[in-house]
Structure formats: C-alpha cells, structure tokens
C-alpha cells in the first residue's frame, strides 16, 4: 500500500473535493484550546513552529492541501483548497492552478492570482512587503518564476522537474498571503481567506478566532469561534483540560508519563499518539577537535543507547529512525532491518560500546584520562533532558561531558560560529518529504544546515532524488542518503518524538495526520456535539 504509485501523471486533474456538509454536523459553539507558549508572530511564512501553525492555519487557505480526511500525508492524497484544479506541463516543470472564483479576503478584498504570485515571489526571495523573514526559502530554490494568466490562473515555473513541489504547497506552512496586507499586520492580526478570522491576538494571553461568515466553502466552518488560551505551564494546561476549561490540548502536549494521569482524571478523553515530526539529534562540530577526528565521531555514535533515551523521554514510544520519519508512520523512511545496520542503531548496545571504548583507548583515553567536552544545548527542558542523558551515556566511553546551556537567543549564533563541540538539537520537519528535510538540513547551501555539513556526493543525491518521478526509485535514493548521513555521522538521530494530543469526546470531525503535526489544522470540519 505504501508503494502505491502516486498519481503524478500530467493532465490528471485533481477533482474538486470540497466536501458537502454531512448531515450529522452541528453548527455553533466555541472550541477552547490551550496553547503552550506565546507564538512569535501570527505570520506562518515567517515562522517555523507549531505554536504558529496550529492556531493560525485556520485563518488561511493553501492552493492545495493534504486531504484532511486522510491519516497519512502522502503525495497521492492532495486535494484542492483555493485551487479548483491543477496540471503539470509535459516536461514536469510547469505547474498550473485554476483558482476558485469569488473568494474574498477577510477585509473584503477579492482574492486573485496576483495574491498567489505575490506570496511565492516573496518566498522565493524577492523584495517584498508581506514578509520580512523567509525561513523556508530553500524550498523554492527550484522555483524560477510565478506567472499569472488572468485573475484565476497561476503557473509555477520550475527549473527542473520536482514532484515534491506540489507536496510542499499542500503543507500547513504554505498558506496564500495577499498582496495588500503588509508584513506587520500579518504578524499581529493576519488577514486570510480561511474559515476563521482573527479577532484578537493578545501576547502571552490569548488568540481569539471567529467564524468567517463569507467563507467560500459553503456551510463551513461549523464552529462559531476558537479560543486559544496561552498557558506556558504544562501542568496548568493539562489540569485545565482535565477540569473542562479546555476542550482540547495543544498538539502533542501530553507526553507519555503524563498520559496516564490525564486518562485517570478524565476517563472519557480521546487521546491519540502520533509522531510529532520532530527528531532529537546531535550536532557535531566536525571542524574542531576532538570531533574533527572521524574515529571519535564513530565512537560517539556507537556509545548511544537509543532505547534508553527513548525509555526516559517517552516511556519507549519514540520511534527509532534515521533522517526520515520511519515507517509505518513515515512515508519515506528506511525499513527497520536496514536501519539496524546503521551505526548507533544496533540492538546490541554493549557490543557497540565495547567497540567504542576500544577506539577511545586507541586514541589514548581511558577511565583515568577521560576526554573532556562540553555539550551545548538550548536552555529549555525539552533540549536539556536528552542532553543530560547523552552526557550520562558518554561516560561509558571515557567522555566526560559538561552541559553548556545556551540561552535560546544566542543558540544559532553559537552554532553558526562553530563555537561548540557537541550540541543537542531538535529538528522539526514541516512535511514528511525528502526534499523538505534534506534541502533544509543537509544541503550544503541551506540556511538551516546549522552544522554546515558539506558533502558534494550527498548534495548530488539530494538533487537526484528530488527530480526522480518514479516513487519506488526515489525511495531507494532517499534510503541511500539516509545511510550516507548516518555513516558519515552527520547528525545522529536519537529518536523521532511521539506524543499525545487529547480532546473531549464532544469535539468531532478532527483528523490528526500521523506524519506531520503541521498540516491538519484548518478546523473547518470540526464541530462540537453538545
């Protein structure tokens, strides 16, 4: 099933999939959700965090979107949103969308193809007034031009075929912005075409959305309003959920150690575990001692006991995988038997560690002469916790690590300046897609390739898989890249995080997509059964 050929064929039109409202849904009500922190801004294109996407995706529409009824985001389950239909040119370098007519922005302005052009021109790096930061510029390296044909047709011109391009447009990180709303407004009270309008975004306090009565999908949304309350303390958030103050938790807010308590206090809660599309990984400064020595890098990765990490951080629910989210949840990751052959993923940890110790002893280290290093990480619990475990594990191979907690403000500076030895890092991947992941994190020219990992061979393979139209062949290349990265100890992955999202049973119509937390938050199909 996973190998089902995606329907890439040219000329095959995505059918209009605007679902007619089904008879059971009830209109009305306010959905109350707790929010974990203060979103840096409301502008999805400028940010890379679920804190922004989850509340504000409902304000916008994409051109296309992952089928909200499907559990797995995959290239073959993409449906129209603002686009009624789309088509590829014969050489697979031009993607043309026919836009829905009569759509209005929340401020009453009509939506046209110009808005699409404005958005992607800005994202591709042209000067623009609608964004001031562009964290996902690398996605559009291959986008040469955006052309319009009248108000309701727009064409994306690519430099080479890139099947993932449509996938990227379908993610929650790809809303259509308007030409006429400046970046400052987009960051504080954004204007979209989506099912909900922003009433108020109070920093550190709340986000209030109300139903857009003029939403172009007739009959939707069902909810009158969505109230987000920002509660930075997790126990307070969960207590609020348990006591009925909130109808739903923030995405992936309920870690496994907490799940038991939530279920005990609120037995009727519906909780769903899924990967968060965030993996914990180790940043290695390969340009400076001691990790400029490939031997030390290898010893490091051999010392890892991924199960132990997993056991502590999620009671064993995190997924062991390489760079891509592993199957079955992930669409692209390598199979388990192949994974076991990668360094650091062997089931026999003791054997690996013995090997690592041998390497270290060979380099002159030992119990009385440990290698002293610093492990940098952001001074936030979710970063610090794995770092503390890492330091503890490294003791096994004569590495005496000291935690170096870095204020979050200077974290990237420090990493970019290569002012670290080891770093514990979390990487979120917006879409379970090899282009998104590899280009962002491992391509030599990417902004977000923090470790400055440069490998011409890997770059070549990344480009190669990106242009590959045959899904089977492409997966093979993807796995090869994963293996190369692992062998090269590029960014050893400790685990793909898994956590729970819970809601009250009266919340209906919610479909969580298992391979990305960033894509399913339009809230247009959600209703309250009161």
């Amino acid at each position: 099933m996973r190998l089902t050929r995606a329907v890439w064929a040219a000329g095959v039109l995505g059918l209009v999939t605007v679902a007619s409202p089904s008879f059971a849904q009830k209109q009305g009500g306010t959905l109350r959700i707790s929010h974990r922190d203060n979103p840096p801004s409301a502008s999805i294109h400028e940010e890379s965090t679920i804190s922004v996407v989850q509340p504000f995706m409902a304000v916008f529409n994409n051109l296309v979107v992952f089928d909200p009824k499907e559990k797995v985001n995959s290239p073959d389950h993409i449906v129209g949103d603002l686009a009624d239909s789309w088509s590829w040119s014969d050489d697979k370098t031009k993607l043309t969308f026919k836009l829905h007519q009569g759509v209005k922005w929340h401020d009453g302005q009509p939506f046209t193809s110009k808005d699409v052009k404005c958005t992607w021109d800005a994202l591709a790096g042209k000067d623009s007034d609608i964004i001031r930061k562009d964290p996902r510029k690398i996605w559009y390296n291959n986008l040469k031009d955006v052309t319009t044909n009248g108000d309701y047709e727009v064409t994306f011109v690519l430099g080479r075929p890139e099947p993932s391009f449509l996938t990227m447009l379908a993610g929650g990180y790809s809303p259509v912005y308007s030409c006429h709303v400046p970046d400052r407004v987009m960051r504080s009270k954004p204007i979209g075409t989506g099912p909900f309008k922003v009433v108020d975004f109070k920093r550190n306090e709340s986000i209030k959305l109300v139903r857009n009565p003029d939403y172009f999908k007739k009959g939707k949304p069902y909810l009158d309003a969505i109230d987000w309350k920002i509660v930075p303390n997790r126990s307070t958030r969960l207590l609020g959920f348990q006591s009925g103050e909130f109808d739903m938790t923030f995405d992936s807010d309920v870690t496994f150690p907490l799940l038991k308590d939530v279920m005990a206090q609120k037995p009727n809660a519906v909780c769903e575990a899924r990967p968060t599309n965030v993996n914990s990984n180790i940043l290695i400064n390969r340009d400076a001692p001691p990790f400029d020595n490939p031997q030390v890098r290898k010893a490091l990765v051999l010392a890892l006991d991924i199960k132990a990490f997993n056991q502590i951080l999620s009671q064993g629910h995190d997924l062991d995988g390489a760079a891509m989210l592993p199957p079955p949840a992930g669409f692209w990751g390598m199979p388990a038997d192949m994974l076991a052959t990668l360094p650091g993923h062997s089931p026999d940890v003791e054997k690996s560690r013995a090997e690592a110790r041998k390497i270290m002893e060979g380099l002159g280290y030992g119990p009385n002469k440990p290698l002293k290093i610093k492990v940098a990480t952001r001074n936030i619990a979710i970063y610090r916790d794995p770092a503390v475990i890492l330091i503890d594990q490294l003791k096994q191979i004569y590495i005496d690590g000291e935690l170096d907690p870095i204020d979050t403000t200077i974290w990237y500076n420090k990493i970019a300046k290569k002012d670290y030895q080891l770093g514990m890092n979390l990487t979120g991947i917006g879409i379970d897609d090899p282009d998104v992941n590899f280009y962002e994190n491992f391509y030599s020219t990417s902004d977000r390739n923090y470790t400055g990992y440069k490998n011409a061979e890997v770059d070549k393979l990344i480009d190669q898989q990106s242009a590959e139209l045959d899904m089977g062949k492409r997966k093979k290349i993807v796995w090869e890249i994963e293996k190369k990265l692992a062998d090269d100890v590029a960014r050893p992955v400790i685990g793909h995080n898994v956590a729970n999202t819970c809601w009250d049973p009266k919340v209906k119509g919610l479909v969580l997509q298992v391979n990305s937390i960033y894509n399913g938050w339009r809230f247009e199909d959600v209703w309250l059964d009161k």
């Binding site: 930061k133 960051r187 504080s188 550190n204 307070t236 207590l239 500076n413």
Partner: protein, 314 residues
C-alpha cells in the same frame, strides 16, 4: 514644607533618570537581541534578513541616540513600539496594569487582615506558646518560596476541588474577579503578611516599652485599653510604612505567582519581555515599576506626616 517637597521630588527625578540609564545599559549588555530571537524562532540564520530587522528597529543606531529617542518619547507620552507584537508599547502594557494591580491590592488587603491582628496578638502574648507559634508561622511566610507555595496551592486545589483557578479575562463583576484572584493573592500576600506581622509585633513591643504606656497603666487603664487605644496606634505608624513599600515591592512576588497561576499581568510580562529582548517593553515596564516604588516611598512619607502629629511639615 515646600522646600522639603521640592527636594524630595528632585531626588525622585534623579533616581528615575538614573534608573533609566541603568536599565538601558543593562539591556544592551544582554547577550542577543530581538533580531536573534526572531531569527531563532523561525530557525533560519539569514544575515541579510537579520540586518534588515535590526535596521528597521533602529538597533543599529548609536546607543546614545537610541537612549535619547526613548527618553524623548517618554517625555511626549510615547512609549514606542513593542518589538515582538509591533503594537504601541502602551497598548501592550496598559491592559496588564489593572490585572497586576488588582492582584497586588487583594494580596495587600489579605496581608494586612492577617498580619496586623496576628502581630498584635503575638506581641501582647510575648513569649507564650501562642507567640512562638505565630512567630514560626510568620517566619515560614518569609521562608517559603512563593512559587512553591503556589504549586502546593494548585496541588491542593486539584486534590480537593478537582480543578484549578484559570485566569479568565472575561470574568466581570467584583466577586467573580475576587474568586479568580483569591488563591494567587493569598500566595503573594502570605509573604507580605508575614512581614507585616513581624513588624507589627516588634513595633508593638517597642511601643509597649514606652513611658506613655506606663502612664496609661498608672491611670488604671486595662490591658485591652493599653494595647489597643494607646499602643496600637503608635505601633501602626512604622507598619504603614512597610505596607506601603511592600505594596510596591510586591512585584517581585507577582513575577513567580503570575507565572505559576498563569495570570497575564505586568510582572510575568516583564520576564517574558526580557526573554524576548523586547527593549521597549522591558525599559518602560521597569520604569513603571521604579515609578511605583519611588512614588510609594514618597506617599508613605507623606502618610507618615499626616498620621504622626509629631512630624511637622517643613
């Protein structure tokens, strides 16, 4: 009196100007700025974008110019724009003031209601078991970290009521608000009540040693009359001072309590703003706190003059 007032006001102004320089300088020492944070939030490290943000926010200008711009704005009632929300700073700060104000007010009321009577009882029953008990209680008030007390209160609240007070911005009406803020106010006020109780006690003991208390006794006044008619009024004068100053200094307790109870007041906002390197917010909020403290000190002195007939104006 005029000369004294002028001198006081002048000193206040000097203090506030000094504070503005201090806070401004300290903030520029903080590693990282808003642009770093914003870039960090989006996870890309594009020097061009960062430079643009730095330029747009005027952070690339000389610090003296930045300082002057701030002060000049303040003089014209313009607090500038918050870096994070990009709204006028006044709009960010103003709505949070009444929240913290109400909490602090409630806490002080609680502290006085608890602290003064217990302090009096403790002094009157000096060196009895009751006195020891109350002294231990008041010392514990000074010893418990208020965030821990807050956590314990939350734990207890969950245990007994199955719920916790979650701040609701839409709660209107006096009782609804009091109900919502009561627990955090008790947590904040506990420390103050301990302070007030200690001071009331020692002040009361001091007064009870005074000659005029002996005079009152020599007139045949009863213990109660001596304690309450003669001693308490005199003992309360220093207590009023501490209440006034404590009211201003309550901000410290509010910081952690607003965090624990998730109350969107100014105190928590300050920490948040520091974390975000939101200079306009931090600068203005700090100045606001300093103004409150300095003004409270001033008012306390004035109140002292009014309440204590011995102190003459001038």
């Amino acid at each position: 009196m005029g000369a004294y007032l002028v001198r006081r006001l002048l000193l206040m102004a000097v203090t506030l100007v000094g504070m503005s320089i201090l806070i401004f300088a300290l903030l520029r020492m903080v590693p990282g700025n808003i642009a770093d944070i914003l870039m960090d939030a989006s996870g890309n490290d594009d020097p061009k974008e960062k430079a643009r943000i730095v330029h747009d926010l005027g952070l690339d200008r000389p610090v003296t110019e930045q300082y002057w711009q701030w002060i000049d704005g303040l003089a014209h009632g313009d607090l500038g724009y918050a870096f994070v929300s990009e709204r006028p700073a006044i709009e960010e700060i103003a709505p949070r003031i009444p929240i913290s104000g109400k909490l602090a007010g409630l806490a002080i009321v609680f502290a006085i209601l608890l602290g003064v009577p217990l302090g009096v009882v403790s002094a009157v029953r000096q060196n009895t078991g009751l006195d020891y008990g109350l002294r231990v209680l008041s010392l514990s008030g000074l010893s418990f970290p208020s965030f821990w007390l807050g956590l314990l209160v939350l734990m207890a609240s969950v245990q007994w009521f199955g719920t916790i007070p979650i701040y609701d911005a839409d709660a209107h009406g006096f009782f609804a608000q009091v109900k919502m803020l009561a627990l955090p106010a008790i947590v904040v006020g506990f420390r103050s009540s301990a302070l007030i109780m200690r001071l009331t006690r020692s002040s009361m003991l001091e007064v009870l040693r005074q000659d005029y208390v002996r005079t009152a006794r020599s007139k045949g006044a009863s213990n109660a009359s001596v304690n309450y008619d003669h001693a308490l009024r005199n003992a309360l004068l220093p207590v009023i001072t501490v209440i006034g100053i404590e009211a201003a200094f309550l901000v410290g307790g509010l910081i952690v309590t607003e965090t624990v109870f998730n109350i969107p007041g100014v105190a928590r906002f300050l920490v948040e703003a520091i974390r975000w390197r939101d200079y306009p917010i931090v600068q203005n909020l700090t100045m606001l706190i300093a103004v409150v403290v300095v003004t409270m000190n001033f008012l306390v002195d004035m109140a002292y003059m009014v309440l204590d007939p011995r102190i003459k104006f001038g």
